[in-house]
């Protein structure tokens, strides 16, 4: 199996290119799955959510809570890769019809030795990616837009023992004796809101999720 490759014309000697040269193009497949990883770092969030979340986590940490962050920013490039490999496999989208994304030189439509479109190889490569992303059992298309993709959401597990004396944004310390001693605690949600970090509005259906707008 071979894949068509784009080539970049070299810039004329002594002149700077006006735009970045096109990225090397590379066929779809498992190798793409290791790229553009989802972050678990608060530093990758967008402002002002980043500052708000940093302050809220600092307050929880100072109060003795344990925080384990599973995810913050999902790069749009990764969302694109996850979405379209799933769509090729589950929705039978034609790989030749997938729109390109700046900065992602993936070739969804593989070609055979004669240079013709190879639908079997294209589907097999997308299937590899779906499996590597762990999405075989997923029956909805991964989103192309979300708070995680915008850098305005975090998935985090929160816990503490005993009571939690935590500062609100205005400095007032509140003592939380209520239960559960997790991120689902209503008093902790109220404290989070003072920082502009809002618990998911859908209740217990998404327990680790906080964001800039509650979605």
């Amino acid at each position: 199996m071979t894949t068509a490759q784009a080539t970049a014309a070299p810039a004329a000697a002594g002149t700077a290119p006006l735009t970045a040269p096109p990225l090397p193009r590379e066929p779809s497949g498992r190798a793409w799955v290791g790229r553009f990883p989802t972050s678990a770092s608060v530093a990758d969030c967008a402002q002002p959510f980043r500052a708000n979340l940093t302050a809220f986590i600092a307050a929880m940490g100072a109060a003795g809570a344990s925080i384990n962050i599973a995810a913050t920013l999902r790069p749009p490039q990764r969302a694109y890769l996850m979405h379209w490999c799933w769509s090729i496999v589950k929705q039978k989208v034609d790989p030749r019809a997938i729109p390109p994304l700046d900065g992602v030189g993936i070739v969804w439509a593989h070609v055979d030795a004669q240079g013709g479109y190879d639908p079997i190889a294209s589907l097999a490569a997308a299937q590899e990616m779906v499996e590597a992303y762990g999405m075989q059992a997923l029956n909805v298309a991964p989103a192309l837009q979300s708070n995680h993709i915008a850098g305005t959401a975090v998935d985090m597990a929160i816990s503490w023992a005993g009571s939690l004396s935590i500062a609100r944004r205005d400095g007032q310390v509140v003592r939380i004796d209520s239960q559960p001693r997790t991120g689902m605690n209503p008093d902790l949600k109220a404290v989070g809101a003072t920082y502009g970090v809002l618990k998911f509005v859908g209740g217990a259906s998404d327990m680790p999720h906080w964001s800039a707008d509650g979605h």
Binding site: N139, A141, D206, H215
Partner: protein, 106 residues
């Protein structure tokens, strides 16, 4: 040096503000019909969970996300198409519906 206060950005912000004001005004005078409101609520929740596919893979979290997403997404592709047809002469609703992906189900 370009700043947030460039004429283009000011014009863009003004256009966005105008569009938002028009949308809010329309909503204030004519609340969404029950079918539209139900769709908007379900699809928003569906879209939330579609954005929660765990990465790196986590089978337990994927099960949770998948169950919720499937519950809220089921049937919304057809509903979206029907609503777009029904409200094709309503520019406000048409704009609202344009934000959604055409197909999120297999």
């Amino acid at each position: 040096m370009a700043t947030d206060a460039t004429p283009a950005r000011r014009a863009s912000a003004a256009a966005l503000a105008t569009a938002t004001a028009a949308l809010l005004a329309a909503c204030a005078t004519s609340p969404p019909s029950p079918d539209l409101a139900t769709f908007l609520e379900r699809r928003a929740t569906c879209d939330h969970f579609r954005g929660e596919v765990p990465d790196p893979p986590d089978p337990q979290r994927l099960r949770e996300v998948s169950q919720q997403a499937e519950a809220y997404c089921a049937g919304t592709d057809a509903q979206l198409a029907a609503l777009r047809q029904r409200y094709r002469d309503d520019p406000v609703v048409t704009k609202q519906l344009a934000q959604f992906e055409d197909r999120v189900e297999p």
